[in-house]
């Protein structure tokens, strides 16, 4: 991945309340459409954003009860990638302790949840999780077109 300029940056702050992830997904759509990402790729971004927001809402316990999102269009000179940072000021977690979900096990397990991070990783080009006791930031990027990075 080459370094490239931030062409546009939009920030969104959401309350940690049911269905607010949809607002994030619409803003993501607007940014992705602006850079003329293809509809199928936009849809994948939308789903990843929804999952990351739900995680912040469900697991962070952030005292400000807000999800802070930054959408950045990267590229130089033309838009190449959409980067989305989803931050909560919550309790954080240990990614190494998160078990990789497995369908054969989940189909019989009591707890069928635990798919969010795997889905995010499968749908985005790059995903980085920064987490600690001051909170969590998930940074994910998707290129405008398949094959670009």
């Amino acid at each position: 991945m080459v370094d490239s300029a931030v062409l546009r940056e939009v920030t969104l702050t959401l309350p940690m309340l049911p269905d607010m992830e949809i607002a994030a997904s619409k803003t993501a759509t607007a940014m992705a459409e602006y850079m003329e990402m293809s509809p199928d790729r936009i849809d994948e971004v939308r789903m990843a954003v929804v999952e990351a927001c739900i995680n912040a809402i469900e697991h962070s316990g952030a005292p400000d009860r807000k999800v802070h999102i930054t959408f950045s269009i990267l590229g130089d000179p033309a838009p190449e990638r959409l980067q989305i940072e989803i931050t909560d000021f919550g309790v954080g977690f240990r990614p190494a302790s998160v078990e990789e979900p497995n369908i054969d096990q989940k189909i019989k397990a009591l707890r069928k949840r635990g798919w969010g991070l795997k889905i995010i990783e499968g749908l985005m080009d790059q995903v980085e999780v920064k987490t600690g006791n001051e909170g969590t930031t998930v940074i994910m990027t998707k290129a405008r077109q398949a094959g670009e990075r």
């Binding site: 849809d43 994948e44 069928k112 889905i119 749908l123």
Partner: protein, 117 residues
């Protein structure tokens, strides 16, 4: 708020089709489960989920669908999907869900393949 998922059931003997319209989140998943279990109690052993009207799902909703699959397998039944958006299909592939639930492009092909011969 946000319009709740609408679910419609069509049952023909041991085959039932569930049509969804809207966001499959926690509540949406629960609503599908409610209708699915109703169909199973009514004798359905093959359940087709037609997601034509669903453009977005989340992983909590999908977990509930996995629960339905489990319940179907327990009674030697099966669950299949049709009319998925490319992203939902990709997500089910990422999860490996397709090992336990077949995916069909449309209802006609699903019914053709699932109907007892």
């Amino acid at each position: 708020m946000t319009e709740a998922l609408k679910v419609r059931l069509e049952q023909h003997g041991s085959m039932a089709v569930i049509y969804t319209d809207g966001y499959i989140n926690n509540q949406g998943g629960e609503e599908i489960a409610r209708v699915a279990y109703e169909a199973m109690e009514g004798g359905a052993r093959t359940l087709l989920l037609n997601l034509m009207g669903t453009k977005i799902v989340n992983s909590i909703g999908i977990s509930i669908l996995i629960e339905i699959i489990e319940k179907m397998l327990e009674v030697d039944g099966k669950l299949a999907f049709c009319c998925l958006t490319p992203t939902i299909e990709k997500t089910f592939n990422i999860m490996g869900l397709t090992q336990y639930a077949e995916i069909f492009p449309d209802e006609e092909q699903a019914v053709g393949s699932l109907s007892p011969a």
